[in-house]
Point group: C2
Chain length 215, copies 2
Amino acid sequence: MKTLKISEAVVRRLPVYLRHLMELKQREVLTVSSQDLGQKLDLNPAQIRKDLAYFGDFGRKGIGYDVSYLIQQIRHILKLDQIIHVGLVGAGKLGHALCNYTAYMKDNMRIVAVFDAQESKVGTEINNLRVQPMSELADTVREQKIRIGIITVPASEAQHVAEQFVEAGVEAILNFAPVILRVPAHVRVHTADFTTDMFSLAYYLSDDRKEAPVE
Amino acid sequence: MKTLKISEAVVRRLPVYLRHLMELKQREVLTVSSQDLGQKLDLNPAQIRKDLAYFGDFGRKGIGYDVSYLIQQIRHILKLDQIIHVGLVGAGKLGHALCNYTAYMKDNMRIVAVFDAQESKVGTEINNLRVQPMSELADTVREQKIRIGIITVPASEAQHVAEQFVEAGVEAILNFAPVILRVPAHVRVHTADFTTDMFSLAYYLSDDRKEAPVE
DNA sequence: TAGATTGTTAATCGATTAACAATC
DNA sequence: TAGATTGTTAATCGATTAACAATC
């Protein structure tokens, strides 16, 4: 395996490849070409080959990629050949939804603890997990070997929660609050912000204003 | 206003600028420089100036940008100087969460209808909205002037729902299901996929496997 | 005036795509 | 063998950043 700095764009495509490969496997497709993949995923075949070639020679000239083998390799690259433990803070509707969303994630990641600052939430059950108070976060992260933290609290509390996660030793954070978190460089943060998505979508609407303009 | 093809990267940053500007406004800050903004948002000041300059001369040399004026301009660019009507299909936990997530979106967008294919869901109330059957989607989209559709159904149903949205005349779709949707070129789709985010985060974890490796 | 900061051009950097020898 | 398809190099394209004249 080569050691080179892999761009974020490449890393973000790997889960997309993986997902489609799993589907192919389920349909008992044994082999797939970069051509096929590109067609399905709306990507340039050369890009797919190049992405994969960063990590090794996974294909066979004239043949393509062995589906099962490639799945195994991508899971290894993404460190998903183990079960990653995840903690979540914010037992609101969104937190609830994500806990249940284990559908096809469950072989690779598992939400093993849920926390909330609100006393009324503590002790309730979500998906067989007892909602814990924030005071238990640090110990639980260590005991349960939680490596990724999910933040589904209001924007005003997100930074504080992030700091507690970092303090407890979490290595990466997925943040759903619409704020930019400040964390040390060794902690990776991705922000999954619904409002940013919605607002940028609006840009692409046609120009005729259908409602009474405010301006 | 110049007419030039604006890259998606630029469009995705505009809502981030807007959000921070709103916060500045609330704190009664009158003026902001690209320097200040860059610091807060982790972006290069030149990039911010360039992004804004695509759309007009909004700043003043030696001074910076007037916060209120820039807010107004960005809202106009993003077509958020009107209230955009939104429809949602999939009244599960995630759909529920998004309906409630109107917090700071409510001046710009409004979810005005919720649909679900499951009979057991139809007729229940979410945030004062009656969940409607899919058979009412087309008419409601037209009557309510719904321009953006949100999809929060299982992956297997997402494509079918997208087609119904497109058929009904929706201009853009925000898709939460982990699939790549096929829609005509005039419809814009953004995919907000939780699993892709989580899986790509795992790549950045440290290399020591903390659980018993599967491999 | 002096200091600050924009808008914009030019330079740099990085990512995508094309092309093709190697080879199954 | 002929056709298909990889891995990789070179070409292209696009996005980010630096630099600076204009000017508040």
